[in-house]
């Protein structure tokens, strides 16, 4: 007995951290995706250090310098009350990143909960959840968001929760599909036959094996959520002023002044496009590497 217990089983493990491994693979196999990821990380860092990087306060007005064209002093010019556009773009970017990550994280959690419930338990649970998801997805995202915000009122926490729910419910289909294919695998049946409980099976066997899908889902959601928040802010239903937002900077009272200072129309939209584009191509690359079955998902 004592000899049996002293036998050490060598662990089959890569010497490198799986995360480092993945990053190396992206840079080696998917240069375009790697470029997207790098650009996105740059924007993320700008968001994190926005308060340090911004040369002026986002709401510091300087009436003497209103509608100044881009110059060394104001690299992106100033708006109609003399606020520095660069500082506002930076602080607005910070908000986009906060909303992007918070809402995408919430969305992923919602997707996983609904998807696992629906895919693992099947039967009437699946039926009811799926018909509710159908109904939810009938409504265009933007229309649903507008209606819900008309009830809750605009504000950062509301936006995060609503966007999280919206994209979480829509994404639950993808998690459900993954769970359905995983639950029929031999190791899940084996675990159940040696007496593993439902919770144990889900946490130890199902969840780890749908992780690639979940990671890809999260990445693609970040871009979608940022775009949706900007759309809401553009319509005046996002995070209310004086907080600068990329969507808000293109809308509202500033619009009339764009004819005098066309630079006002450029920076926020360009940043938005570049961020969403970079996170999209990064997500595509990640999907190709982690889970080729998800091609064509958006």
């Amino acid at each position: 007995m004592s000899t049996a217990s002293s036998v050490t089983i060598p662990k089959l493990q890569s010497t490198r951290n799986p995360l480092v491994d993945l990053i190396v693979r992206i840079f080696r196999d998917k240069p375009l995706g790697a470029a997207g990821g790098t650009i996105f990380v740059a924007f993320l860092l700008c968001g994190i250090f926005a308060n340090v990087l911004a040369p002026y306060g986002a709401n510091d007005t300087n009436v003497l310098n209103r509608l100044a064209a881009p110059s060394l002093e104001y690299p992106m010019g100033t708006d109609y009350v003399g606020r520095d556009v660069l500082s506002r773009v930076l602080i607005g970017g910070q908000l986009s990143m906060i909303v992007g990550f918070a809402a995408a994280a919430l969305a992923t959690v919602v997707s996983v909960i609904l998807g696992v419930l629906s895919g693992y338990f099947k039967g009437w649970v699946d039926l009811v959840i799926q018909r509710m998801v159908d109904a939810w997805m009938t409504f265009p995202g933007l229309v649903l968001l507008i209606v819900v915000i008309s009830v809750t009122g605009p504000g950062l926490p509301q936006i995060v929760v609503i966007l999280g729910l919206q994209y979480g419910i829509a994404g639950s289909r993808i998690v459900r599909g993954a769970v359905i294919s995983v639950r029929e695998h031999m190791y899940v049946h084996a675990a159940r036959s040696i007496g593993a409980g439902t919770a144990h099976t889900l946490i130890r066997h199902v969840l780890p094996n749908i992780m690639p899908v979940v990671i890809v889902l999260f990445t693609t959601r970040v871009g979608a959520v940022i775009l949706a928040e900007a759309g809401l802010s553009f319509l005046g239903l996002g995070v209310p002023p004086p907080q600068p937002t990329w969507g808000g900077m293109l809308a509202g009272s500033g619009r009339a002044y764009m004819y005098v200072g066309p630079w006002l129309a450029l920076a926020p939209g360009l940043c938005l496009t570049v961020v969403v584009f970079s996170v999209n191509i990064f997500g595509d690359a990640l999907r190709d590497l982690l889970d080729p079955r998800m091609r064509g998902l958006r």
Binding site: R131, A135, T138, V143, I146, G236, F277, R298
Partner: protein, 316 residues
């Protein structure tokens, strides 16, 4: 085909049930409920009056009865009156739906006439420079927000050439040319952003179809490239595109809200936004319901036409 139609219709029932519950909830979740709102508008404030108003509106009834009453009214086309204009919501919807419909149809035409030729080209010239350009274009279009494109189109032509898109609405039957002058720019912008996904899909489908045996057979019997693509490949490759168009209906409607706002088109989207900003809840929930029903109808039509186009679907 009859079986297929019946199956599709019955699958619609549970979804419609949940849709109606969502719309009903959107009415009931209004902060400081409808009674407070009406009372503040009519200067009634005593407790007794409140109970009377609630009884008159049927709000003292159990929630289940309230739901069925609302459902009954909605089925008869009674969605309540606008709190702001005091007109029937249904009346306003009837005036505005055709306008949004026109915008959506134009945008769809633009999207398809951009996406299908470029998608086919991209597939036939796979991995050439043209293919890369087309694919990059569709990736970029997925990232560019519609409201930014709209803003750029409003601002830069005005600054450079003193030309701005017309933002004055003229009914189509009054002057079709003036109407199109107004609608064409937003329709093109909306169509371009829709075309991105369709283009990718067309390319994928064409690549798949071109590998089929019957294409090789057609080639072998000496069919010209153009006829091969148009008559054999495209006809089969396009079937999934029909589904995609249905899936994009919500996107089209969502995008239309933003375009209607930028270009001041008095459609349903603008009605929704006005309703939200004026806290005109019957209008908001009325639009909500109509949008839901429209999407369900579009999906139904797509499903049915899919069954008609592809006999395999009918019999599974």
């Amino acid at each position: 085909m009859q079986d297929y139609i019946i199956r599709r219709l019955s699958a619609l029932i549970p979804t419609m049930f949940f849709v109606s519950i969502m719309v009903f909830c959107s009415i009931r979740l209004i902060p400081g409920d409808v009674v407070d709102l009406m009372m503040s508008q009519n200067d009634i404030s005593t407790g007794q009056d409140r109970a009377a108003v609630e009884a008159a509106l049927g709000l003292d009834q159990p929630i289940l009865i309230q739901y069925f009453r609302w459902l009954g009214d909605a089925c008869r086309g009674d969605l309540g009156r606008s709190l702001w204009r005091n007109t029937e919501v249904t009346e306003q919807l009837a005036a505005r739906l055709p306008i949004s419909f026109e915008l959506g149809l134009l945008a769809l035409l633009v999207a398809l006439s951009v996406a299908i030729p470029i998608g086919v080209y991209s597939a036939m010239r796979q991995d050439t420079l043209g293919d890369y350009v087309a694919r990059s274009f569709s990736l970029v279009m997925l990232a560019v927000p519609g409201f930014w494109m709209g803003t750029l189109v409003m601002v830069f032509p005005a600054v450079w050439w003193r030309w701005a898109p017309n933002i004055e609405y003229t009914p189509f039957f009054e002057s079709p040319i003036k109407n199109l002058e107004h609608m064409l720019v937003p329709a093109i912008l909306l169509g371009l952003s829709l075309s991105a996904v369709t283009m990718r899909m067309t390319r994928t489908m064409m690549l798949e179809v071109m590998r089929q045996d019957y294409i090789r057979t057609a080639r072998a019997k000496g069919l010209g490239e153009v006829r091969l693509v148009v008559q054999h490949a495209l006809r089969n490759g396009l079937i999934p595109i029909v589904t995609l168009v249905g899936l994009q209906a919500p996107m089209l409607i969502g995008g239309a809200v933003i375009m209607e706002q930028i270009f001041v088109i008095p459609g349903v989207g603008l009605m929704l936004l006005e309703g939200v900003f004026q806290r005109d809840y019957p209008v908001v929930s009325g639009v909500f319901l109509v949008v839901g029903i429209s999407v369900l109808l579009i999906n139904l039509i797509v499903d049915l036409s899919y069954g008609w186009l592809d006999p395999r679907v009918r019999h599974t």
